[in-house]
């Protein structure tokens, strides 16, 4: 399991506000998914090698004797910075308040080879980050031993102070004048039980900044003499620029320059209100080849249409001529990310160099794209990531960084550009709509003899800048749309999952949990329906059909615990029903019980019980926060949200009409229980989104005897 890190070089460099900078240059770790895919395609996808011209800087010792960690992962609310601080504090032998975490700018040389996403940050950093912190600690001790004229074994280290031979040194004193570092073998890590911070519900390291309104987000970034830009884009899907009254717009008050690029027009002005006012004066003629309708989109996304990929196949297929085969169709709509901080960037391009400050989940990809667009070498582009006002997958695409950089290049000054809310809704990289056909047949024992999930989706991973198309050529499947699409009841003698995928005329991409939400809605609603048909308790019906291997045991454990904790019953009580559902995503099984009533023809969710097996929870409180957030975002997507097409435009274009869960829709009670069924941290930010839609639909079935098969769930 444990991988030893490889060390390249250690560099001491003076930095602004620092006594000195220590660095461990290493970047050999990759997430398991990428590793597996690289195994297939090693020669075509060069892995990040860390051989940039700038030194790799992970740890800095500040004047205040703090350890500043430059994180290749960004903080978008998921709590990763807090977990990073916990991991470093425990192995570095410093207190939590002696660790600072900042997002690494690309000029540090610390660039994530992939992205902050897939709920993988803590899982990926778990081993290498602790090893680096422990190695750094030993390196400091070696230098301290020299300065204190004593043997390494006589030294003790506590809260950032190294003592021995009757003297003590602060870390900032230890690093003084060190030009060449001795690097020991990677030390053994502490046993779990000895950690002071890991595994504890430590408060978030960014809590004060977020409660007192500090300017930490991309939207808050500014540069001296900065100008403000707005961009005009086509409102119809597939529209192409023809002409515009650019000259008239340039005469408007405060406008500096109007620039037309491929399929967009940028207006740069002295202030944002002036840029926005000028936008309303701009008349653009677009060529609109076609006005797409929702029906046409639905037709593209239909099982049987497009590329077929067998994901799972066991035993034989159910026959279409068999009267005993139950068939149910499910659908989910186009979904918007709707993160509250709009996409945007502050860019300054001058003297052959570019600096871009923004909220991004793909720091390295942003750097490459900006460099390519400007024709610059990579090392002349510095990307500075900020805190993200929500990510949810939206910021895996940052074409706006390129746009801000191009506009800055045009005017020779820093430019800030961010999306209007209408642009956000019309030019999102949407969660694709899906279509599912579930088939199943009961055997004589009242259990499933066969079950099949046939599902169609627009692209999720295919076509993404972070997933070269070649990988999909190798896999012949969309590895994003596939998530949650497999049958987890592998004791059933005959089962299969078949994916169909097709591109759409607008961009679809990663949306928190990818295919999991819709796939689990279809599968777990259908399993519930079959349990009812078999006249069985739906919890027992599930347990009876899950394999006894490790994955199966862990899934059964979360199901049993959720049923126990919620005192699950399939009978109504006080006008309320309980709905049960479970899913396994990224190796982390999760079960939900939703307690629901119908009041005035509206669905009311009173309580959700959630059990997640996330392996080691580095910060149990923040894992619970991720569960609560996933449940509420899942309720929003399952009961409220829907994008459609109106007159060939994506619609709606504002919150409100794009209906989302508010305070009044959130369950008053959410009970979360964590199981540690693995000896490493597992992904937590997405797996708990899986079961919620089905759990609510299954409760509604018991309340109304209606099987709802389409998201968002509507009673009539």
């Amino acid at each position: 399991m444990a991988k030893k890190i490889s060390r390249r070089k250690f560099i001491v460099r003076g930095g602004l506000g620092t006594v000195g900078v220590l660095a461990i240059g290493t970047y050999v770790f990759r997430n398991p998914l990428r590793r597996a895919m690289l195994g297939m395609a090693e020669s075509l996808v060069p892995p990040y090698s860390g051989t940039g011209t700038e030194p790799n800087l992970w740890f800095e010792i500040t004047k205040e004797n703090k350890v500043r960690v430059h994180s290749p992962k960004v903080e978008m609310g998921q709590g990763t910075f807090t977990s990073i601080a916990q991991m470093v504090a425990d192995e570095f032998e410093v207190r939590m308040d002696q660790v600072e975490v900042v997002g690494a700018a690309t000029e540090t040389g610390i660039i994530d080879g992939m992205s902050t996403g897939g709920s993988l940050s803590v899982a990926q950093l778990w081993q290498p980050l602790r090893e680096m912190a422990a190695t750094m600690r030993e390196m400091l001790k070696i230098e301290a031993a020299k300065k204190l004229n004593t043997d390494l074994s006589n030294l003790t280290m506590k809260e950032g102070v190294i003592s021995g031979n009757g003297q003590s040194l602060h870390l900032s004193e230890v690093i003084k004048d060190v030009t060449k570092w001795e690097v020991p073998d990677t030390p053994d890590l502490k046993p779990l039980k000895d950690y002071k911070y890991i595994g504890k519900p430590i408060s978030r390291v960014d809590l004060d900044a977020k409660v007192y309104g500090d300017p930490i987000f991309g939207m808050d970034a500014a540069m001296p003499e900065m100008l403000h830009a707005v961009i005009v884009r086509p409102e119809h899907v597939g529209a192409v620029f023809k002409s515009a009254n650019i000259g008239d717009t340039e005469k408007k008050s405060g406008v500096v320059k109007v620039v037309q690029k491929d399929n967009w027009i940028g207006i740069v002005a002295n202030s944002y209100p002036e840029a926005l006012a000028a936008k309303f004066e701009l008349r653009v003629d677009w060529d609109i080849p076609k006005k797409w309708t929702e029906e046409e989109i639905r037709e593209i996304i239909t099982v049987g249409n497009g590329n077929e990929m067998m994901v799972q196949k066991e035993g034989s297929a159910l026959s279409d001529d068999d009267n005993e085969v139950v068939v149910l169709e499910f659908k989910s709509p186009i979904g918007a990310h709707a993160q509250i901080e709009p996409n945007g960037a502050v860019a300054h391009v001058a003297d052959g160099k570019a600096t871009v400050i923004l909220s991004t989940q793909v720091v390295g990809v942003t750097q490459k794209q900006v460099a390519e667009a400007l024709g610059f070498e990579l090392e002349n582009v510095n990307i500075i990531p900020t805190y993200l006002g929500g990510g949810f997958g939206r910021r895996l695409n940052t074409s706006h960084a390129v746009e801000a950089a191009l506009l800055s290049q045009e005017v020779g000054k820093p430019v800030k550009y961010f999306f209007t809310r209408k642009e956000e809704f019309q030019h999102d990289m949407f969660r694709p709509p899906t279509h599912h056909i579930m088939k199943g047949k009961l055997g004589g024992n009242g259990l499933l003899e066969g079950v099949e999930h046939h599902f169609a989706s627009g692209n999720v991973a295919i076509g993404s800048v972070i997933m070269p198309d070649m990988i999909h050529g190798v896999l012949n499947a969309d590895i994003g749309a596939i998530r949650g699409g497999s049958i987890q009841y592998r004791k059933v003698p005959n089962f299969r999952a078949v994916q169909w995928h097709n591109p759409l005329p607008f961009a679809t991409s990663w949306w928190r949990s990818l295919g999991l939400l819709a796939n689990t809605f279809a599968i777990e609603s259908f399993i519930d329906e079959m349990a009812i048909k078999a006249k069985k308790n739906p919890v027992q019906f599930r347990l009876d059909q899950i394999e006894d291997d490790e994955a199966g045991q862990r899934l059964k454990a979360v199901i049993k615990k959720a049923a126990d904790m919620s005192s699950y019953s399939d009978q109504l009580a006080n006008g309320r029903a309980m709905g049960f559902a479970a899913s396994t995503d990224a190796g982390a099984p999760c079960a939900h019980v939703a307690e629901v009533s119908v009041e005035n023809n509206e669905i009311k969710i009173h309580k959700v019980t959630c059990v997640l097996d996330c392996g080691i929870a580095v910060n149990p409180d923040q894992v619970k926060a991720q569960c609560e957030g996933s449940i509420i975002m899942g309720i929003s997507a399952s009961l409220h949200e829907k994008m459609t097409l109106k007159d060939g435009q994506l619609y709606p274009t504002i919150y409100g009409p794009y209906n989302m869960a508010l305070m009044k829709h959130a369950p008053r009670e959410i009970e979360v229980h964590l199981i540690q069924g693995a000896d490493v941290p597992l992904p937590v930010g997405e797996p708990p989104l899986g079961p919620i839609g089905a759990a609510v639909a299954n409760a509604i079935k018991r309340l109304t005897n209606k099987r709802l098969t389409e998201l968002p769930l509507r009673l009539s």
Binding site: V211, P273, A625, A661
Partner: protein, 162 residues
């Protein structure tokens, strides 16, 4: 046109060409108080909520001319780490924020609610706290609002009215 008003107890005079400029941009880009957020520009999400004479308003759709002579309070003026407002104290105790972007708007809306209604019920909260949080922190937020009400009751008259 010159607009005179008070922001976080500091008198301010702002010269502005268009008096219909939203207060949000005056606060963010002229007064450089970035804690008040832009979310939608149509008063639909509440990220830009601040207080004008103690009332919660959505500043993206509130012309600066209407602030003439009034008291504006932003998140920066609500409290400090040394002297947190009960709402901020409660938010810290319940560890509410995730991404944090919408949180100042929610805290300002809550401060205004507690000014009017020191002990809001769950129904009062549902009806009055109608901002949008994409991370889904509503569950903790509800607990924090009740906690803030308790803290406000504890400190009672010592808390200055906004």
């Amino acid at each position: 046109m010159i607009i005179s008003f008070t922001v976080n107890n500091q008198p301010q005079k702002v010269e502005i060409e268009d008096p219909n400029t939203p207060l949000l941009w005056v606060v963010r880009d002229i007064l450089d108080l970035k804690g008040t957020k832009f979310g939608c520009g149509k008063a639909a999400c509440g990220a830009c909520t601040l207080l004008v004479d103690g009332q919660a308003i959505r500043s993206c759709s509130y012309a600066v001319k209407f602030a003439e002579g009034k008291q504006v309070t932003t998140i920066e003026g609500l409290g400090t780490p040394e002297n947190p407002h009960p709402v901020q104290q409660a938010w810290i105790e319940e560890v509410v924020p995730q991404c944090g972007y919408c949180q100042p708007g929610f805290m300002m809306a809550t401060a205004a609610l507690l000014n009017e209604n020191p002990k809001p019920t769950d129904e009062d909260i549902d009806q009055n706290i109608i901002n949008i949080c994409r991370c889904g922190t509503y569950y903790r937020m509800r607990k924090a609002i009740h906690r803030a009400a308790e803290l406000t009751g504890d400190t009672n008259d010592s808390t200055p009215k906004l």
